[in-house]
Point group: C2
């Protein structure tokens, strides 16, 4: 069976159920006390890996029960083939290093892709209680302070733009030089936000996210959420970003073009 | 009147009241929509400055009403002399750039100092609902998920430590080289956390925070919170950090010594 008109309400309800289950699996292992972590390290217990695996297992079980025809690609447990033409792409903890530090910028990434690419996605931060949902006509941010529609920022010059990236030492030396060509032109660069940066882009807070070395499960949900909010996500060369790699996420076509021109440079790579 | 035995319960209650008032003043201006911010920019309205000033005004009014003998030093409205020997040191929004990006790593800093230095402090993050309180026998983190005591991490080698700093381009060239001597030895460096990093240090999540160019109102509350949790905060040369400047915050004496030795270098400054 090929599903040509996805069941939006069923998909959105299941995605919310998945995010809730993942959060319940992860939160008890977030910000473990120093003592507990050290005791458990002696027994070979790694709280991040444990949380990652428990969350993905919980999500896979729910998908199998609710929509058994869908495929699954997870960071931890690989591929389960489906028959519906739709595949859930799961990264239970995107931002493992933020998680280790206790910073609330990691997230649960839940994407739904078909042959054309990401169609629907959720970025969930269980500690802050924030959930970005985008695709199939939905574009919303729910927080403990309320719910609001997602919409990316209007165009503005690079000199007034905010750029986020996870690490200042992004990528290879050539990738780092390309990144710096954009970073040196913008008003403000912030590091260390992981997938939270994609949420801020979709919510109209920032203009650009530039990353390198990503996996497909890092980008499926962010692409769906950002596109639903009016933004653009491509590879640095303008091609599809769905496979990961070098990713340029932008609030609008104008700033996407301006950033891409700088990333591609003039062929001299300086 | 010189207050030799501070009224802990009164001070803690007032600090909580101040944090609540600041949060109520700031949150309506956090994550304004793009359109609202742009319309208001046309009329010269700056949401960050407005939030900063509204929060400090609310806190000053409460201090004047509840503890009129105390002095006040605020980032926005300067010094009000007191008679009690105690001075409230206020930074309504520490992490202005995080605030601009919509990242939840800015905070309200409320410190209480006497002639010996910081005695009590609160680091409050109103968006996430997290509040660190330390001093006068209190050391606690309250979040929407519950309350727990604060305690810094046990000693571990630099090679296993986590270091946070706000900007990778920290300080002057010499300060940057000193920072890199530590950064190149640790397991993990994270940027962009602002005062939230001090909270993570007090909560036992990270080992070191290294900053340069700070003001006194940036450090009064963090010093009190971190010391209450068992940590150490000094200038890079081991002197008092209460005036700001170059600050080294550490989870314990061992890692403080190890980091300070690298910051001071061997006199060749490389």
């Amino acid at each position: 069976m090929t599903e040509t008109a996805p069941d939006r309400d069923g998909i959105a309800a299941l995605a919310a159920e998945l995010a809730g289950a993942a959060g319940r699996a992860i939160l008890p292992l977030f910000r473990q006390s120093d003592l507990a972590a050290e005791n458990k390290a002696q027994s070979g217990f790694d709280p991040v890996t444990e949380a990652d695996r428990a969350a993905e297992a919980a999500m896979r079980a729910l998908i199998a029960a609710r929509r058994p025809g869908d495929g699954i690609r997870g960071e931890e447990f690989g591929v389960t083939e489906g028959t519906s033409g739709l595949t859930w792409v799961l990264d239970p903890i995107d931002g493992t290093r933020a998680f280790l530090c206790g910073a609330p910028t990691w997230g649960v990434l839940i994407g739904l892709v078909d042959a054309t690419g990401p169609r629907f996605g959720v970025i969930d931060q269980p500690h802050t209680g924030e959930r970005w949902t985008g695709g199939l006509g939905i574009a919303a941010l729910a927080t403990p302070h309320g719910q609001r529609p997602l919409a990316t920022r209007a165009p503005r010059p690079l000199a007034e733009a905010i750029l986020c990236s996870t690490f200042p030492e992004i990528g290879t030396p050539a990738e780092h030089r390309a990144f710096r060509r954009v970073a040196d032109r913008v008003r403000l660069v912030r590091y260390g936000l992981d997938c939270y940066a994609y949420g801020l882009l979709a919510a109209g807070q920032i203009d650009l996210v530039i990353e390198a070395g990503l996996n497909d499960y890092d980008v499926a949900a962010p692409i769906a959420v950002i596109e639903a909010a009016g933004g653009i996500v491509t590879a640095w060369d303008g091609g599809s970003a769905a496979a990961g790699g070098r990713v340029l996420a932008a609030a609008n076509a104008e700033i996407h073009s301006a950033a891409m021109a700088l990333l591609l440079g003039d062929g001299r790579d300086d």
